[in-house]
Structure formats: structure tokens, C-alpha cells
């Protein structure tokens, strides 16, 4: 097999103990799950793909929730140490909460996080990646052409 034939389709998505990534060859997608010691492959041939589901998750709100809890803890630390009493303390509080607000805004503005499920005759398969909605739609548009062409 020619190793150079594979083209990267998505970046790496970090999961709990592994990472996931999608590569593409002329006639199939290669889904790779990588752990500390090895890789697991799954090939999804274009002509076998029956349907594709973009599943809108609520991860974005989970991340915002975690950020809110973090902000609360940081706020409590500032309050307990009475940092608001001094000018330098107020500047520090402003910078820290400003940064948190920027992070929260970027999480929100980048759109819903999607999972992708492909169905073949062997059953449904969840790709091990999570993509923002814009990137996912772009990927689907690209795959649509390939899949439809191979199933004509």
C-alpha cells in the first residue's frame, strides 16, 4: 500500500484516552483511533455508505458550564483574599475575567459541536472526531461529491 495516498481530512480530536482522526484515499475514508501504544483502523468505502448523520451535541454548553464554575471559584478566591481592595488587585481581577470572557465568547461564537455518524450495511459507525458545525458541513459537502460519484 502506498502510504502517501492518504490525505488528511480532519485534525486530531482528543478523547479521554485516545485521539481520533480521519484520512481519505481515492475510494474510502480511514478512521484512526490512536492510543498510547497503537492505532486502530476502520475503513469506510464510499460505495458502502448509506447515510450520513450530523449530530448536534450540547458539548458547547458543557464547556461553558465548566468555564462558569471555574470563574466562580476564581471569584471566590479573589473575594476571600480581598484583592478588590487594592488597585493592582482590581487590575488582576479585570485581566483574569477578561480572558475568561474571551474564552467563553470564542466557545460560543464558533458554533455547535457535531458528531458524525456514517451508516453502512454493517451498521452505524460514529467517526471518532468532533467538529464545529461549519467545518462539519464543509466536510459533508466534500464527501457528498465523492460518495455520490462512487454510487452512480
Amino acid at each position: 500500500m502506498n502510504k502517501k495516498n492518504y490525505q488528511k481530512v480532519t485534525g486530531k480530536t482528543r478523547n479521554f484516552m485516545s485521539t481520533g482522526q480521519i484520512w481519505q484515499q481515492d475510494d474510502h475514508l480511514l478512521s484512526i483511533e490512536e492510543t498510547l501504544v497503537g492505532q486502530t483502523y476502520r475503513r469506510l468505502f464510499f460505495k458502502d455508505i448509506e447515510s450520513l448523520v450530523l449530530y448536534h451535541t450540547s458539548y458547547r454548553y458543557h464547556y461553558l458550564g465548566v468555564l462558569a464554575i471555574l470563574s466562580f471559584i476564581i471569584g471566590m478566591i479573589f473575594l476571600m483574599n480581598k484583592l478588590y481592595a487594592t488597585f493592582n488587585g482590581r487590575v488582576t481581577i479585570g485581566i483574569v475575567f477578561g480572558l475568561l470572557a474571551v474564552v467563553a465568547f470564542s466557545i460560543f461564537i464558533r458554533g455547535t459541536i457535531c458528531k458524525i455518524q456514517l451508516q453502512t450495511k454493517n451498521g452505524p459507525y460514529n467517526l471518532p472526531v468532533r467538529l464545529r458545525i461549519f467545518k462539519a458541513r464543509k466536510l459533508v459537502r466534500k464527501l457528498n461529491k465523492e460518495i455520490n460519484a462512487s454510487q452512480l
Binding site: K3, Y41, L52, V53, Q151
Partner: protein, 210 residues
């Protein structure tokens, strides 16, 4: 004729596994799951609609002039195995890349490693070597383990330098870093043991004289 279960013409929600009515799906329109309320965009390809027709085609009995499947004589053959030449129905036909194989040839090809497209995994020796070189150092008491892990890391680096199993091209940077770190650790241990062994008689003499 064997009873064949018809394929279900609906999909399942990836979130809650409940059925989605395919009739409601129109292109590029997000559909709301009626059970978990999550939005999903569904695209159906021609293969989805062909499945029903294919199963119905399968159950057609073979006529006197038609070839039957090697394993299911009552089913019409749709192709032949590219390795052994046996006629196969669509149930027995395994499409692997451009090839049509019967289950036996696919199985033996996988065992013998002849079919590279059937490779389902690879061991990443470069990551193992790097982990052996790095993790003991960054853990608190793990540094004492480097007397074992450093030679192991060096072994993996040398042994598998040109034998990466991954089907994708991987750089050798992890091997290089692992090799350098493990060599440094081995040199450190050798220097430490040499230092202690040369100084030990002197220390023992001091203790004895006191």
C-alpha cells in the same frame, strides 16, 4: 426459500438510539429527534435505497440456466470470488477495495497478511519508546525506574527504527528524542555507579576509622 427479514427503512438517532422516520427527511434540513430533541442533519445516499432492492433480488430462486451461490445454492450468484473463483451471492460477497472475495479467502488473506487493506491496527513503537523515556522522569519517584526503562526505550528505538507498522507515514522524531533521552539516562546511571564504586572504599575507610 429462506425467509429474509426486510431491512428497516429508518435510521437511529446517534444520541438516544431511537428510530428516525426516513420519510420526513429532506435534503439539508435539520431534523429534530422526537425523543431526545437533539438536532441532526441527515443525508441519504443512493446505497440506502438500493439496499431493499438488493435483498429482494437475493431471495429470487435461481433458474435452470442461472448460476447459484456456492454457499447458498438457492440464491442467485451476483459475482465470483477474485481469488478462488467461486460464485457468490450478495450476502457472501465481500467487497474489499476493488476486489470481490468469499469469506474464506478474505479470512485466509487476513491471517497471512496478504491483504493490507484488512489491516485493522498497528503498534506504535515510537510512542512506546518515548513514553518509556519520558514518563518515569516526570513522575516523582519514577526516576529510579529509569535503570530499567531507559535500556528498554533504547531497545525499542534501535529494534523498530525501520519497522513502523502504521499505514500512514510517521516521522522518526519520537525515536530520535527517545534515543537521546534514554542514552542520557543510561550515561547518568553509569556515571553514578562509577562515582559511587570509586568513592565507596574511601567512605568505608572513614567509617571504620571513626
Amino acid at each position: 426459500m429462506e425467509p429474509v427479514s426486510k431491512p428497516k427503512k429508518f435510521l437511529r438517532c446517534p444520541g438516544c438510539r431511537s428510530p428516525i422516520n426516513v420519510e420526513q427527511i429532506t435534503d439539508n434540513t435539520p431534523v429534530k429527534c422526537s425523543y431526545c430533541d437533539n438536532m441532526q442533519e441527515i443525508i441519504l445516499y443512493p446505497e440506502f435505497h438500493k439496499r431493499m432492492e438488493r435483498v429482494q433480488q437475493d431471495v429470487v430462486s435461481t433458474g435452470a440456466t442461472e448460476a447459484g451461490c456456492f454457499h447458498h445454492a438457492h440464491k442467485r450468484a451476483v459475482c465470483h470470488c477474485d481469488q478462488c473463483g467461486r460464485f457468490l451471492c450478495s450476502l457472501c460477497d465481500l467487497k474489499i477495495g476493488d476486489m470481490h472475495l468469499c469469506p474464506q479467502c478474505a479470512s485466509s488473506g487476513k491471517k497471512k497478511g496478504k491483504l493490507s487493506t484488512l489491516k485493522r491496527g498497528a503498534v506504535l513503537y515510537d510512542k512506546i519508546a518515548l513514553a518509556l523515556a519520558v514518563y518515569p522522569v516526570i513522575t516523582l519517584f519514577g526516576i529510579y525506574l529509569t535503570i530499567i526503562t531507559a535500556p528498554m526505550s533504547l531497545f525499542f528505538t534501535v529494534r523498530y527504527w525501520n519497522k513502523q507498522e502504521s499505514i500512514l507515514t510517521r516521522s522518526k522524531i519520537r525515536f530520535v528524542v527517545a534515543g537521546i533521552l534514554s542514552l542520557l539516562q543510561i550515561v547518568g546511571w553509569v556515571a553514578g555507579i562509577y562515582y559511587i564504586s570509586t568513592r565507596l572504599p574511601g567512605w568505608l575507610e572513614k567509617v571504620n576509622t571513626q
